[in-house]
């Protein structure tokens, strides 16, 4: 069974439109203006689910899907955000009796309406009915907020996780809409007929290996160069519309390096540090050297050197998994707003594609004192080709 990456793009678009409709319902019901930040889709295993949801406490509404699209949709709030939403809803319903129960039922009803809006477009696209089971209010810590079937599926072969992040425009409220379609049926829906864009479905799990190998090697290199402890925090491969890539990076100031990759696949690798992390790293790399308080030549030199070594490590990891050869350009030093740094990268990729596979890894440095984000953006067709060319394995 093969999946067509353009179909994946189409479903991503549906999820994004659905999230917009869900946001609109919320503003009509509770008077809160929400913005849909990014919608992405990734094939995740149990480990990634655990990492993504760990140490957080959620309140959610769960709806089962049957018919043309089977699976589960979950609207999840972090617990403290849910309290905020309950307050907003209480204000609207203006009923002081048995507060907790009322809030629960309001949240459930709200979730039901939002999920309904989210699913509408899918039914249209698939030209079939999608039935929703009655909404269920759930509370849980970590990945248990997701349905048991999804966690089981993640253990076996991975599960497709659609995530739309919604953020309040004038209130401090944010939550995520997750869609976890039933694996086998969804893989059927993804099978297109364009050979050049297809990836054998059993290779999709290789994505996670790519993310892990690359980031693990890069983190090791930071440790060797600086003597600081490093830890790969989250490493995940997402499939995102190109325009959503800069939004994921955000508009804080970053210091970093951008590399062009050539080989199979070609693409771009972006290594970004927050300004403080960059200074910490540069000082650690040159003990006794003239420490800089601001980002100057010394930091630039250090970040370029470190970026070079990290990138070599990263693409060695890829070359191992894909059994191909990949080279990288000299480093382009950048010190700018995050979204602007990504602008020429998505511009270049945009000549060939509308969506991007983004391998997004966060490396924690020296406990919580520093952080480094690595974004790898391979050419999607070449990545599909490299994955398809891998020898079969069990």
């Amino acid at each position: 069974m093969k999946v067509d990456i353009r179909e994946l793009g189409q479903f991503n678009h549906l999820a994004s439109q659905g999230a917009e409709r869900a946001a609109k319902s919320l503003s009509q019901l509770a008077g809160v203006q929400m913005d849909v930040d990014v919608t992405d889709v990734s094939l995740v295993t149990e480990t990634v689910l655990a990492e993504t949801f760990t140490d957080r406490s959620f309140v959610g509404v769960e709806v089962g899907l049957e018919g043309g699209l089977e699976g589960e949709t979950v609207l999840a709030f972090e617990r403290e955000r849910a309290v905020k939403l309950q307050d907003l809803l209480m204000g609207v319903t203006d009923n002081g009796d048995s507060e907790e129960r009322l809030a629960k039922s309001s949240v459930t009803e709200l979730g039901n309406i939002m999920i309904g809006g989210f699913i509408d477009g899918w039914a249209n696209h698939l030209d079939t009915a999608i039935n929703m089971t009655p909404p269920r209010y759930t509370e849980a810590n970590g990945p248990r907020i997701l349905p048991d079937q999804a966690i089981e599926a993640a253990k076996k072969h991975g599960v497709f996780l659609f995530e739309s992040k919604l953020t309040g425009m004038d209130t401090d409220l944010d939550f995520s809409l997750y869609m976890l379609p039933e694996y086998r049926q969804f893989v059927q829906l993804l099978s297109g007929n364009d050979q050049g864009n297809q990836i054998p479905v059993n290779r999709l799990s290789t994505f996670e290996e790519l993310a892990k190998e690359g980031a693990g090697n890069a983190a090791g290199q930071i440790g060797m160069m600086t003597g600081l402890d490093t830890n790969v925090d989250v490493s995940r491969l997402r499939f995102v519309p190109l325009g959503g890539v800069p939004k994921q990076v955000g508009n804080d100031q970053f210091v970093g390096v951008v590399f062009e990759l050539t080989g199979l696949p070609s693409g771009y690798l972006v290594v970004l540090f927050g300004e403080e992390s960059a200074t910490t790293i540069a000082n650690a790399m040159m003990p006794g050297g003239g420490a800089e308080d601001e980002i100057g030549e010394m930091t630039e030199g250090a970040i370029k050197e470190l970026g070079n070594i990290m990138t070599s490590g990263f693409i060695d990891g890829w070359a191992n998994v894909l059994q191909t050869s990949i080279e990288h350009s000299p480093p382009n030093f950048v010190h700018d707003m995050g979204e602007s740094i990504m602008s020429p990268v998505v511009g270049k990729l945009g000549q060939q594609q509308d969506y991007a596979f983004v391998i997004d890894s966060t490396i924690e440095i020296d406990g919580n004192t520093g952080q480094c984000d690595i974004y790898a953006l391979p050419n999607e067709r070449e990545l599909a080709r490299a994955l398809s060319a891998l020898p079969a394995r069990d």
Binding site: S16, E20, Q33, D35, V36, M169, D170, L242, G243, P246, K247, N251, Q253, V258, E260, T262, S329, N332, V334, H335, D336, M337, G338, E339, S340, I341, M342, S343, P344, V345, V346, G347, K348, G350, Q351, Q352, Q353, D354
Partner: protein, 168 residues
Amino acid sequence: MTRDQRRADGQPTKQVGIAEYAVVTDDTQLSTSGVGSCLGIVLQDGFSDVSGLIHVMLPTAAESRDGNPAKFVDTGLPLLIEEMVEAGASKRRLEGWVVGGSEMLSFSSDGDSIGSRNIAAAKQAFDHYSIDVAGTDVGGSHGRSIRFDPANGSVVIQTADDNTTQTI
């Protein structure tokens, strides 16, 4: 996906993402961030109070495999003009601002950078549609954020360098 926002001063703002555009017929401000090699193009017919902003990534649709017309200068600008005319603007009265097109990265495989090709494409399109240029801030090697205020027809540009803003 544009979004409406109300700033602290009560002035509503429409946020425009990459490869998106928005048209307004009141004093709603138009804003976009992450303009590196991309271009933010603002058009206004001040007489009819119609303003538009598009955030394009690449010069021409012909050099890309597929995609949404708002991604390119040569297909995005006519799209924006059309929408503005529908909202009541006159093509003859349009004036415009072009911001961005910086060269932040240089790779050996590059011919001309995307930034400079975007600027050239915008010049050509402005000539083609006979749009008066009210202001430009292009080139360089830094990113920009843009905010257009239809009330006074000014574009405020923010850069990362020492966080300064300038108005054109």
